[in-house]
């Protein structure tokens, strides 16, 4: 029983750490631009596959490759905004379709290059090995992930609340028109937001996937669904809500998987059920306000 509780806590925390990184960016973009970015999961997946591809033509220095990959994905996020999303951002269906198209394209591109075979990228692990206690063994990379995630989230929170760009991001998310009257270039802010969001998804992948595996080109969708659950739970656009929501989803998933009979096959339904329940009971989420518009 003790081992099970540790197992639940540890894996729940790891889930929360990874979900919070991914969902934070997703929620940010939604909050600032009301953009439902369906390509968010694809950024995560693409990072993993770039880690797989890049060593074949770059010097094999893991941290260098990882940095280049993250920069690459961040730029792709920015380009996606400039080329695809910006002209359509006033129509919610248009944005959804175009980001879906982008996600679908990235997925199929990865499929053509690498097929559906799973791969390992464990050479990018920052800390190898495990830490054992009598009843449980902790994967070091996951421990690192938890702390890194907490640090990144804190730095991000600090950035959003203190920096000039952070303030303008918050301003745009609260009132886009008023922000533009302050002289803030709202489209520029949205661009940065999308880049930050892609950056966070990419960092999440760099931290997590080396200890996991590249599970085929469609693996991004699962993380996207989880992000949905997280932001619906925490409230669309609420950043505090995203982090809290991420850990709730993480623990609930882990709890279902460990303590509920036949839980493992239900664990992935839990986030979706959370989406439905929250939408029906409190669409604005735990921390969200009722949408004024």
């Amino acid at each position: 029983m003790e081992a099970e509780i540790i197992n639940f806590l540890f894996n729940g925390t790891v889930n929360g750490a990874i979900f919070s990184l991914i969902a934070l960016g997703y929620s940010l973009v939604y909050g600032v631009g009301h953009i439902m970015n369906l390509a968010h999961g694809a950024f995560f997946m693409l990072t993993g596959y770039m880690l797989l591809w890049f060593p074949s033509f770059l010097p094999e220095i893991p941290w260098l490759i990882a940095t280049i990959v993250v920069i690459f994905v961040t730029i792709i996020g920015g380009l996606a905004y400039i080329i695809l999303i910006k002209p359509l951002q006033d129509t919610s269906v248009g944005v959804v379709l175009i980001t879906f198209g982008l996600a679908f394209f990235i997925q199929e591109y990865v499929f053509v290059l690498s097929g559906t075979t799973p791969y390992s990228v464990k050479e990018f692990k920052i800390i190898d090995g495990v830490t054992k206690i009598p009843s449980f063994s902790f994967i070091n990379q996951f421990i690192f992930l938890i702390f890194a995630s907490l640090i990144i989230v804190s730095v991000f929170a600090l950035f959003i609340s203190k920096s000039k760009l952070g303030k303008s991001i918050r301003a745009v998310s609260q009132d886009r028109e008023a922000a533009s009257l302050m002289g803030i270039n709202t489209n520029r802010v949205l661009l940065y937001t999308l880049m930050i969001s892609a950056f966070l998804a990419s960092i999440a992948a760099v931290l997590y996937l080396p200890a996991a595996a590249l599970n085929g080109p469609s693996m991004g969708w699962g993380y996207l669904t989880n992000s949905f659950a997280v932001v619906i739970l925490g409230g669309m656009g609420s950043l505090v809500g995203s982090v809290v929501g991420a850990y709730i989803v993480g623990y609930v998933t882990s709890f279902t998987s460990i303590f509920i009979p036949n839980g493992p096959s239900w664990a992935h339904l839990v986030p979706i059920i959370i989406i439905v329940i929250m939408l029906l009971i409190r669409p604005q989420g735990i921390f969200g306000k009722k949408e004024l518009r």
Binding site: Y119, F142, S257, P264, H268
Partner: protein, 463 residues
């Protein structure tokens, strides 16, 4: 005046577009005859004297490509040996393939149906081989049956197809299964192997009771009966020694943390042996977490991806000590096995997947059946193939194929259809390890190629 010019221009434009569509349609309708090539057949050979094998599989994916490679390789061998003579006319073999998109996680059955129709009506194949995902095959098999064309299954293990042959013979008699043995028989072989393995390994470790057995399976239809059988029968087969832990049926979209939590769960429950029943991507996650955490149990079961020679690299070597069921490996399973294995690697540069072995055997069998029947008429060929029973098996590279009457299903058990058990060993090599269902030295020589190695951390823990 201007409007007249415009009018003429418009009419000309429409005429051009119309002619264009017409020409396009004409080329499209006329082209197939000229354009189709049948790889494997001697070049410049007449279509009428070519027996065309259609490969239904997922082009660009390992299973579909394996199916094609196996069939192609068989055609090559047959043609090099002079083809087949029917009524004094020499026929050669050729292959062609269509993409059924089976391995797509978002499977769309209409693609398979479309591919089947292309094979039958466009490529005008004489026989078809392939299929590995039951859901897809279930849809497109109907096309082949409607067209009364012999279709040999090379990848799907579900019992359903052969049950259909049994129930409605007149509708499904064109279906045969060459690979793998059906899941019930597979279950039996796994059970016997496991029971024997548990008792043997338990005897090796007097200081530790090897008795707690866990099951880690993906939650899909094909595993349910297998898992049920393992749960119910394994304790009986071990004389009540083995006790089963609650099985873990996971959602196929699981993440690494989920897998880690499942494996830790098994560890916490005190598992000694974990039986994976995995066909999809879960295997790599499992082995990665297993190797990293060095859990105190052995992994012994089914992991389809692990049969690939690239699996070692794909997992970064983490699959070491995993033991899984594998249809064929380089050993003397039949007299043809080793030669086939080496020739295949020489041809394609990688090991044949089980589907490739099945397709090779299937095409070779078609050749023999056609020769015996002296006809291409399925009604004459089917009786020939049905005559291959236990007293008169058809010798293949992956086993001696014999069919049960009425079901067109493979007979299981040594020396007919049986699976080998192979273990990944340090250094990235694979060894066929001893198992109850086959002797160490069979009728054609050594079957086993190495001994089972207990993972060192487990060894330390247990002794």
């Amino acid at each position: 005046m201007e409007s007249l010019t415009k009018r003429i221009l418009a009419i000309v434009l429409i005429a051009v577009i119309g002619v264009g569509i017409g020409v396009g349609a004409w080329i499209f309708l006329a082209a197939p005859e000229a354009a189709i090539k049948y790889p494997g057949a001697p070049s410049g050979f007449d279509k009428d004297n070519t027996i065309v094998i259609g490969c239904a599989g997922d082009t660009g994916e390992i299973q579909g490509d394996a199916n094609y490679e196996g069939a192609y390789f068989a055609c090559k061998h047959i043609n090099e040996a002079g083809g087949v003579v029917i009524n004094a006319i020499t026929y050669y073999f050729g292959v062609t393939k269509e993409d059924t998109d089976e391995s797509n996680p978002n499977l769309v059955p209409s693609r398979g149906v479309d591919a089947a129709r292309r094979l039958i009506y466009d490529k005008e194949v004489d026989f078809a081989v392939g299929g590995f995902r039951s859901e897809a095959l279930l849809a497109y098999i109907e096309e082949f049956m409607d067209a009364e064309m012999i279709f040999i299954g090379t990848g799907a293990a579900t019992d359903i197809f052969c049950e259909k042959v049994n129930e409605t013979y007149a509708d499904y008699k064109w279906f045969f299964r060459f690979m793998p043995i059906n899941s019930t028989a597979l279950g039996g072989q796994i059970l016997y192997t496991l029971a024997d393995f548990i008792l043997n390994i338990n005897a090796d470790y007097p200081n530790h009771d090897v008795k707690e057995i866990g099951i880690l399976a993906e939650d899909l239809t094909w595993v349910t009966s297998l898992v049920g059988a393992i749960k119910d029968v394994l304790p009986l087969l071990t004389g009540g020694w083995a006790t089963m832990l609650p099985e873990i049926l996971y959602d196929i979209s699981l993440s690494a943390t989920d897998m880690n939590s499942h494996l830790a769960d098994l560890q916490a429950d005190g598992a000694d042996i974990v039986i994976p029943v995995i066909s999809a991507q879960g295997g790599i996650l499992m082995m990665q977490q297993y190797a990293l955490n060095e859990y105190d149990y052995l992994i012994f079961g089914i992991d389809v991806q692990s049969q690939l020679d690239t699996y070692w690299d794909d997992t970064g070597g983490d699959c070491v000590y995993e033991t899984m069921m594998q249809t064929l490996y380089r050993c003397n399973k039949t007299s043809k096995s080793v030669a086939f294995w080496d020739a295949f690697i020489a041809q394609f540069g990688h090991e044949p997947l089980y589907i490739a072995c099945g397709a090779y055997d299937a095409v070779s069998a078609i050749r023999d059946a056609v020769e015996d029947a002296q006809s291409l008429d399925p009604d004459l060929i089917i009786p020939v193939m049905e005559s291959w029973d236990r007293s008169n098996p058809h010798l293949g590279v992956a086993g001696n194929a014999a069919w049960w009457p009425n079901t067109h299903d493979l007979v299981a058990g040594y020396p007919f259809g049986y699976t080998l058990w192979a273990q990944w060993q340090p250094g990235g090599t694979k060894a066929v390890v001893p198992a109850l269902i086959y002797p160490d030295v069979g009728a054609y020589g050594n079957i086993t190629t190495g001994d089972y190695v207990v993972a060192p951390w487990v060894h330390t823990e247990w002794s």
